[in-house]
Symmetry: C2
Subunit: 220 residues, 2 copies
Amino acid sequence: MPDTAGYEPTERTVPTRSRERASYDKELVHAILDEAYVCHLGFVRDGAPVVLPTLYGRVGERLYVHGSTGSRPLHMAGRAEPGLPVCLTVTHVDGLVLARSAFHHSINYRSVVVHGIATQVTDPEEKRTALDALVDHVVPGRSLDSRPADAKELAATAVLRLDLDEVSAKVRTGGPNDDEEDLTLPHWTGVVPLVRSYGTPVPADDLDPAVTLPDYLAAL
Amino acid sequence: MPDTAGYEPTERTVPTRSRERASYDKELVHAILDEAYVCHLGFVRDGAPVVLPTLYGRVGERLYVHGSTGSRPLHMAGRAEPGLPVCLTVTHVDGLVLARSAFHHSINYRSVVVHGIATQVTDPEEKRTALDALVDHVVPGRSLDSRPADAKELAATAVLRLDLDEVSAKVRTGGPNDDEEDLTLPHWTGVVPLVRSYGTPVPADDLDPAVTLPDYLAAL
């Protein structure tokens, strides 16, 4: 199947509520993933849930997260067979939805939830590809304009892989859904958009003044 | 102890890595929580982690999340004794940290992680307070300028409470931490700030043109 096909819905990826907002479209899922900087990675430790924010990168239908070999989820995934059950979630908040009724207040958002088993990447080639993807996720093209990891850094870094397989997106757009009988209430109603933008890049104190801002940053 | 005291660190809230970035300061935790719109709520279902984005509200040292009585975590929390073990995480991404080495790339962020047992709110008074807090979390003061939930809406809505008890914040600020031997590399290095702002409010199609934008929205 081409990349543009959809993910197969499963019992876990069909929401109990607002099913009309769910999507399994790969292009939509990729776009939501590529636009965010941080995911929230959930795993189970001693029977209790843990949710940690972390950077990630995407290579096709694979997501990668990384960390010190001593960090909890990476350490746990390295010891678990066949890997560590995780849930990786990414959310954009696009607007505040103000209804006339308190009940219908909401937010406009785009989210992706990925369920699966995270496995530790042991192949050196794949590990390098994953680390490049993590850097390029921060700023596209940046991996080519920085010193690659050396052997010591590679050894100190663990990388987890999570395949995009059991995946869903959920999107809310548009205005409030007030009930018919509330339409004449005197409250302002509508959407306040939220916008993410980039500030002026701040050079490091020790940056050689001869090094100018690269085009890929000026373009942000 | 006054509200400004710190939370007691526990084994779960002392990070294995970058301990110098951890904080247990209540004011800092409250500020991070109050500035975000969405939390990521983790819980365990059939032994696997689930992480869902959701709105929340804070009343002093209590957090509230809400949802349909049929939604998974709310339904589960209502049936579990003494409640549902959760991990509630909130993250702000403040900047992209571009180091000379791929290894030292990072982001500036502020996050809060709350561990605990979420319990269903059954007291009608507390439920109302919680729902007001959820609306006021979207826009402060909004609960007074909207129709409160009626009996039917209250019955359809479940509210979970999570006490701020086992809590930590983690904050990264400042520039890249390149290694000494990389300082002369020719790559631009520094921080690209990320800024969240509000767009112009978009009135609902069916808003009576006589209803003007309230001051608390114009001030955003």
